[in-house]
């Protein structure tokens, strides 16, 4: 139902480990994500799902191993350098500028494409003006894409939770990423909002060819839309495969349900 991901690996994690003091959050994590795929990471609470995203996107520095994005080693780069490479993400607990409007939040994300000198910025002419208009146009297309016209000028802080999640996805898209990490994109949503979000995720994947990695607890959704599922438990990868394979996997069932 989605791209087959035959574009070869776009992201590789090799033996990635992460320690907080004496706690081993991730140990020797190795996996690939192919271009154009939708990959889901699942696992019980505390399995290291968010940690791995934080490590890849530069919020944590791994204590061992290497991360390659398009064959470039991005291990340990800070977040603002990582996003320039074409990697974007959303957060489990929504991190937006609450006091700014939806439009402004998305425009803020475009800053990496706004390059002009101070003078032309101050006077708003030449390149600055052109870039500004381009940014607005790009952002408006995202607003259209995610059907946010009605909330364009609303302050993010007063929006309902489901819509804020949508704004976060929009901000990630504004970076024109090649890969997006979505940390629990449908948590706390009602059925209708969930359906919308799933549709947007599929549209992003299909229409823009963006690779998607999601952390998600809703198994129906995971099994429905993923090309590949990776299962974590206690900071280790315990299984990886097609959704149908994962459903049958004994280790996975054990991790979720415990032993008889």
């Amino acid at each position: 139902m989605t791209n087959d991901g035959n574009g070869g690996p776009i992201l590789r994690c090799e033996d990635v480990s992460l320690k907080f003091g004496s706690i081993q959050a991730l140990s020797n994590m190795t996996f690939d994500v192919n271009k154009g795929e939708i990959v889901s990471i699942i696992g019980p609470n505390g399995a290291g799902k968010t940690s791995v995203i934080n490590t890849i996107t530069g919020f944590y520095r791994p204590s061992g191993g290497n991360i390659y994005f398009k064959d470039k080693n991005i291990t340990g780069l800070p977040p603002h350098k990582i996003c320039v490479h074409g990697i974007a993400r959303t957060f489990q607990n929504i991190e937006l500028f609450r006091g700014l409007s939806v439009l402004e939040n998305l425009l803020a994300a475009r800053h990496i494409y706004l390059k002009s000198n101070l003078l032309s910025c101050c006077l708003y002419f030449g390149l600055a003006q052109k870039k500004e208009i381009e940014a607005r146009e790009f952002v408006e297309e995202i607003i259209d894409f995610l059907e946010m016209e009605a909330i364009r000028k609303q302050e993010v802080g007063i929006l309902p939770y489901g819509q804020r999640k949508r704004v976060e996805l929009g901000r990630a898209l504004a970076l024109e990423p090649e890969i997006i990490f979505l940390d629990e994109p449908t948590a706390g949503m009602n059925v209708e909002e969930k359906e919308d979000m799933v549709r947007f995720i599929l549209d992003v994947n299909e229409d823009r060819g963006t690779t998607i990695v999601l952390v998600e607890h809703d198994m129906d959704m995971v099994m429905d839309i993923s090309d590949k599922v990776i299962v974590f438990d206690f900071g280790m990868k315990i299984a990886e495969g097609l959704p149908v394979e994962i459903k049958e996997d004994k280790r996975v069932i054990k991790a979720y349900l415990g032993e008889k």
Binding site: R136, E141, I143, D144, F145, E149, A150, R152, R199, E206
Partner: protein, 636 residues
């Protein structure tokens, strides 16, 4: 006028007269984008010829389903230019309804908006074998669809452009070949009682109605209007007349959700929305006022009575003294003008309502804040019959009879209409057609009367006039309209009838307003069901009922009421798509409840379905309270 007896002919005229002028505008990517008549011509031409190349012939039907967007507007013209008949469908109709209409109308093509509509059509593909092509205009999300029946709007236009190169005169020739007496459109009636019927309208009928509207609400070339009506509504095709016949600019809002914002930016000269929308605008205003700060509330409450006073005096054509005039002007400056601005009505000269009942209280309210609402009376079958023109507004009538329309009242109080604007037939249903058109007179099924100033007064549907067991006649919708003025009441149905001695009502509470009210009164609640059964809410609604009862004749007073545990829902068949009550169905559905009311029970157990988060469904049993309007008295 016979020279330009179809919209496509008028399109050609407009292109010649002023091809560079703006014909319509749409908001896209946050900016209003202009389309000139030349643009429209190119769009319509290539689409029309594309359809012709695919096999569209004179008299063929094409179903059109989607939100109101320029592509839909062009598609209508393209279909009609080729001599085809537009089958106008509601964008929110469910799959089974859509299948019935497409099959019954013998539609050869379906032109639909987007993925949502395409999914619906593909779902019913097996049951509509006559459809040869399904065309969509919004390609979003359509990349992976490979059903050969699908084509995009752009593909068809490409075919059309190629066709035009080979046959440069084909488009004009097709349009020239059209006659005013040809069928132009089929609208399916919402079917309050039975399966929807396909009302066939000619170009002549549509143009006659459009002309009547323009006579009483004239607009000039270049003035702005905004589309507010579902494209399936027949008002919509009359409305298009402003564009084709007068060169008025039609503005298309960005999304249905941004409508209010877009109203404000455009502030249309002419605004026709349904009574329901006027009701919700007024309750929205009231909710906002209640949320406003002390000063704003104070000023509003200070000036509103003055507005009412002036409104009443001018309605009864009495003299307004200077002090009152000055205060009203001040009120306008401080309160009413800002409200009009928020509602996007600053430049609106013709605020119009029609198609269903709107309580006189709303007219009075809008008049008080400086909006002189006028009514239009008409129907898909009859066309435009009457309308208020400036200076001839009477809140109780549904307008002055239009020129060129023949109207008479039959012996049993039915409104009969004759003239150019009435429909040709119900498609493939001659029996039904003969039932309503006799000797050229269309029997509307509405009851009413005409006064000496040629104003038409509408009471209710003939079959809806009801009487109690004591022979007292009452119009349920009239009472319902009055009750709906309360911001706490979302919807309401009056119950009575020949077997019963008094009236009672079933009420849907307005969850939002009452929720807010509960919050500010520290009343805790969990769900709609819970809130609706609170005693405090019962008393709140009782006050509204008492207020309305004061204005009703003794026999029509409402004695009992029930606050329903859910809202009436079109998807469950309780309302029509225009959100009118399906009374007979509701009477059956809530029979136990109604019986309990008249058996003087205090409450009745009901079972409601609840959906849990994990998708399971369960039933919850609760009791619905039956309230008396008079707390002490026992009705009977």
């Amino acid at each position: 006028m016979s020279e330009f007896d179809t919209y496509p002919k008028l399109l050609i005229r407009n292109v010649k007269l002023h091809g560079d002028r703006v014909a319509l505008r749409r908001k896209n990517l946050g900016i209003w984008q202009n389309h000139t008549w030349n643009d429209c011509y190119e769009q319509v031409k290539s689409l029309c010829l594309g359809l012709v190349d695919l096999g569209l012939r004179r008299g063929d039907k094409v179903a059109l389903i989607g939100d109101d967007e320029p592509e839909g507007f062009w598609a209508e013209a393209a279909i009609q230019a080729a001599g085809g008949v537009v089958v106008a469908m509601w964008s929110d109709s469910i799959a089974a309804e859509a299948a019935y209409i497409i099959r019954h109308s013998d539609s050869k093509f379906v032109i639909s908006e987007d993925q949502e509509q395409v999914d619906k059509i593909l779902e019913i593909k097996e049951s509509i074998p006559g459809v040869e092509k399904v065309i969509y205009w919004d390609p979003k999300g359509m990349r992976k669809y490979d059903d050969p029946i699908l084509s995009s709007y752009e593909e068809i236009k490409k075919i059309g452009s190629a066709y035009a190169e080979k046959n440069p005169a084909a488009f004009e020739a097709l349009i020239e070949g059209g006659k005013g007496s040809d069928a132009a459109q089929m609208s399916y009636t919402s079917g309050t009682t039975s399966l929807p019927k396909g009302v066939v309208l000619t170009h002549n009928a549509i143009i006659a109605s459009a002309r009547r509207m323009q006579e009483y609400a004239p607009l000039e070339i270049g003035e702005d209007v905004i589309t507010t009506l579902a494209s399936a509504s027949v008002f919509h095709s009359w409305f298009s007349g402003y564009s084709y016949m007068r060169g008025v600019i039609i503005n298309f809002p960005e999304e249905p959700e941004t409508l209010m914002h877009d109203y404000r930016e455009i502030s249309p000269r002419f605004l026709l929305v349904t009574p329901r929308q006027w009701e919700s605008l007024s309750s929205m205003t009231q909710t906002r006022i209640n949320d406003a700060g002390f000063l704003k509330q104070f000023v509003y409450n200070l000036f509103l009575p003055i507005g009412y006073k002036v409104a009443d005096l001018s309605t009864s054509r009495e003299k307004i003294d200077l002090t009152l005039k000055i205060f009203n002007k001040l009120g306008d400056l401080l309160v009413f003008a800002p409200i009009r601005d928020k509602l996007g009505l600053t430049k609106t000269k013709y605020p119009v309502t029609g198609s269903a009942f709107l309580s006189p209280d709303f007219f009075r309210y809008y008049q008080a804040i400086g909006i002189n609402l006028r009514q239009i009376y008409g129907s898909t079958e009859a066309g435009v019959v009457s309308m208020h023109s400036s200076g001839e507004i009477d809140n109780d009538s549904v307008g002055k009879l239009c020129d060129g329309v023949d109207v008479k009242i039959s012996e049993d109080q039915e409104i009969l209409v004759r003239g150019e604007s009435i429909f040709t037939e119900y498609y493939k249903n001659p029996e039904k057609t003969d039932q309503v058109i006799k000797n050229g007179w269309f029997h509307t099924g509405d009851s009413g009367y005409i006064n000496d100033r040629n104003h038409l007064f509408y009471l209710d549907r003939i079959e809806n006039l009801d009487e109690l067991n004591n022979g007292h006649k009452y119009a349920p919708a009239y009472i319902e309209g009055k009750l709906k003025f309360s911001r706490f009441i979302q919807d309401v149905m009056v119950v009575g009838g020949k077997n019963r001695g008094y009236l009672s009502v079933i009420i849907n509470i307005d969850f939002e307003s009452i929720g807010k009210w509960a919050e500010s009164n520290r009343l805790t609640y969990t769900t709609f069901v819970d809130l609706s059964q609170k005693n405090e809410v019962g008393s709140l609604i009782r006050n509204d009922l008492k207020r309305v009862n004061n204005t009703l004749p003794k026999e029509s007073k409402v004695r009992k009421f029930v606050l329903l545990h859910k809202e009436f829902d079109a998807d469950e068949g309780e309302l029509t798509r225009t959100r009118k009550l399906k009374r007979q169905f509701l009477q059956v559905r809530y029979k136990d409840l109604i019986d309990a009311v008249y058996e003087n029970k205090k409450e009745i157990p009901i079972v409601t379905e609840v959906k849990y988060r994990d998708g399971r469904k369960g039933n919850v049993e609760t009791n619905l309270k039956i309230h008396s309007v008079d707390e002490n008295g026992v009705p009977g």
